[in-house]
């Protein structure tokens, strides 16, 4: 049974150029359009089964929060259909309808009734709500005298104790202090197990991986990828990483061209014009060019080169440097005893790393082509590639050392 069904859902927003609601402006501007239409969602097809715990990821402005609001039915789609089966509770904005002059207890009744609970249902839950909020005897004080932490705790307690069939959450797992947060997460995990359908929007991919069985990546109003959180997040992070690299490259090439205009000297490359590196790619086990890898992945560094004439002897080197300048690893074909490596006019050389054991962080890859004597360079490319490592097992440091514990 599906809890949430979206069929080809489109949503547009109007961005007004200075919002006008008055008669004068309506009359004067009647035939002009003082707004711009922007499609935020462009055809979302989605089925979420009962009891599924789903994460929505995506950049700011990708439309994931809008999607969540459509599921809540706060917004209506411009095209397409949405079916939501069951009672929905949303942790989107907490404390809806709280009245500062009323006591915590009275506000529980009001707030819970806005979620559609009857008086009996609230009476049944009131103790567990108060219990969960940890407000103690403050519960009978007016909300006006609450600290913001107390206020949020009360609001969260109501929303989470509604026993909804569907729970929608938007970036709110930052309620209260550390202890309360931990309590919220464990309550959520409990709810996950109880068969409630949950949709979470979060920028914390770790949180989604911890709670969800499925992750959906929204990009530019469309579903870009849908699958197991680990897989989706790897591609999502790769996408983000490439964007950062692209932006950095743009900035650098601007800087370079400015410098070249000044003194007309190539500064980044140190090339002999006899042989040079054309491109460097990092490839995962599926043959895809990526910039993000998981610790332990098989990674192939593919170097494409050109030479003025075939038959040049050369040594090919690769080196990895961490973002903060720590030199992690370097090797070359000479170390591998490939003394007769001869270049063609155009060719590729792969360096295959069976287990990429570097841990979390950003790394730079340097590549060099040098003369067989190892003293002079044909070409040297620093920062030929930037990549990110993600490790999931929690170990820290620079790299993973394969090993195991043994206890008598």
């Amino acid at each position: 049974m599906d809890a949430i069904i979206l069929n080809d859902v489109y949503k547009k927003f109007r961005t007004y150029y200075g919002k006008s609601h008055t008669l004068k402006e309506r009359v004067i501007l009647r035939n002009r359009n003082p707004y711009e239409e922007r499609w935020v969602l462009k055809g979302i097809d989605l089925r979420i089964r009962e009891g599924e715990v789903v994460g929505l990821v995506g950049e700011n402005g990708s439309g994931k929060s809008t999607l969540l609001k459509l599921m809540t039915r706060i917004l209506y789609p411009d095209k397409g259909e949405i079916h939501v089966n069951g009672r929905v509770s949303s942790l989107i904005e907490l404390g809806a309808g709280f009245h500062p002059d009323m006591t915590g207890r009275e506000n529980i009744y009001t707030n819970a009734s806005i979620f559609g609970l009857s008086r009996n249902e609230i009476n049944k839950r009131i103790d567990s709500i108060i219990d969960f909020s940890e407000l103690g005897y403050y519960i009978d004080n007016p909300v006006r005298y609450y600290s913001s932490g107390m206020y949020m705790r009360l609001a969260f307690s109501v929303a989470i104790n509604v026993d909804a069939d569907i729970l929608l959450i938007d970036e709110i797992l930052s309620v209260g202090d550390q202890n309360f947060q931990r309590k919220c997460i464990s309550k959520l995990q409990e709810i996950c197990k109880s068969g409630t359908t949950i949709v979470i929007v979060s920028h914390s991919l770790g949180q989604i991986e911890k709670l969800c069985s499925r992750s959906i990546w929204i990009d530019d109003g469309k579903i870009r990828m849908d699958g197991a959180p680990r897989d989706v997040h790897l591609y999502y992070q790769d996408f983000l990483g490439k964007k950062i690299i692209e932006a950095r490259r743009m900035a650098e090439s601007e800087k370079e061209s400015a410098q070249q205009d000044q003194n007309n000297v190539a500064v980044s490359r140190n090339t002999s014009r006899e042989a040079w590196v054309e491109s460097v790619e990092m490839i995962n086990r599926n043959g895809e060019v990526m910039s993000v890898f998981e610790t332990g992945d098989k990674v192939t560094i593919r170097i494409r080169y050109s030479a003025v004439e075939p038959g040049l002897k050369a040594i090919v080197s690769v080196g990895v440097v961490r973002e903060d300048g720590v030199h992690c690893f370097s090797t070359n074909t000479a170390i591998a005893k490939m003394h007769d490596l001869t270049l063609m006019k155009n060719g590729t050389i792969d360096f295959v790393i069976d287990n990429m054991n570097l841990l979390n962080g950003y790394y730079f890859l340097d590549v060099a082509l040098s003369y067989p004597d190892g003293n002079r360079l044909y070409d040297y490319v620093s920062n030929a590639s930037t990549f990110q490592m993600i490790s999931r097992d929690g170990s820290t440091g620079l790299m993973r050392m394969e090993g195991h514990w043994s206890v008598d």
Binding site: F13, R14, H21, T22, L23, R26, K69, T72, R73, I74, L75, Y76, V88, S90, I92, E93, A96, G97, H99, D101, M102, Y109, T110, S113, I114, F115, G116, L117, S118, R119, I122
Partner: protein, 258 residues
């Protein structure tokens, strides 16, 4: 339609809580608190009594009572028509934050003002008795009249609240229109003071039979005229159904317009 009525019914606890919150919140923070609900009409009545029995003498016997039994129901209606423009705008946070059938908000507003009117009627009954008039069996018609007014007022509130979200001038326009409407309704004067040629205005105005019915019951102590009331009732139902349908259509983009 049936679906959404069912849903509204299932939110009755919310309506109850919102009405209570509104009634209690109205005078919260003031020293006399809820007592103002009663005190307010008493003081108003004192002002009218002084004005119309000492300063401005009208030819009508016990004019303060004549006026008051019509003014209280009018104030209720006006709070739904003019005050209705603020229903959605005033609950902006709620509407934008959380899902619930927004149709309940006008119900909350109208009901809360209706209860306020009922409390003012306690004062009216007291004054009727004190002033020496008798409460006759015609008072049994009072609930019917009130229900008819409630239906009409709710329909009007649906319309004014929904339109104001898109068109904020409505608030100002309604302020003026509400005042004009009051003078077109026999609240401050009696029907026989109207020149013959303007009689059409009176019959076309669905509020006239309602206001006159209140006066018949409480001031004259007689059974209200049925045909006028029936027309008002039918018109009220039509306005309510139309207003509800309009509201339903317009609510889809409330959140974006707020």
């Amino acid at each position: 339609m049936i679906q959404s009525l069912k849903e509204i019914y299932s939110y009755k606890e919310m309506i109850r809580n919102m009405v209570r919150k509104d009634l209690r919140g109205r005078y919260k923070g003031s020293v006399l608190g809820f007592f103002w609900t009663i005190l307010n009409p008493i003081l108003q009545l004192l002002v009218y009594t002084f004005l119309f029995s000492v300063v401005l003498k009208t030819g009508i016997d016990k004019y303060y009572l004549f006026l008051f039994v019509a003014l209280v129901p009018w104030i209720f209606f006006s709070s739904c028509l003019v005050g209705g423009s603020g229903i959605i705008l005033g609950q902006k946070d709620l509407v934008k934050k959380i899902y619930f059938p927004i149709e309940v908000l006008p119900i909350c507003h109208v009901t809360s003002n209706f209860i306020n009117m009922l409390l003012s009627f306690i004062v009216i009954f007291a004054v009727v008795i004190i002033s020496g008039s008798k409460i006759t069996y015609a008072a049994l018609y009072l609930p019917v009249v009130m229900i008819i007014e409630y239906i009409f007022a709710l329909g009007v509130a649906y319309i004014s609240s929904a339109i104001t979200v898109y068109f904020r001038d409505m608030e100002q326009i309604l302020g003026i229109a509400g005042m004009a409407w009051m003078y077109l309704t026999p609240v401050m004067y009696s029907v026989d003071m109207i020149p013959e040629e303007f009689y059409g205005v009176l019959t076309a105005n669905p509020m006239s039979p309602i206001i006159l019915a209140y006066r018949d019951v409480l001031y004259y102590g007689k059974v209200p005229e049925a045909t006028g009331l029936l027309t008002s009732f039918l018109l009220g139902v039509i306005i309510l159904v139309a207003g509800f349908a309009l509201f339903n259509k317009l609510k889809r983009r409330f959140v974006e317009e707020l």
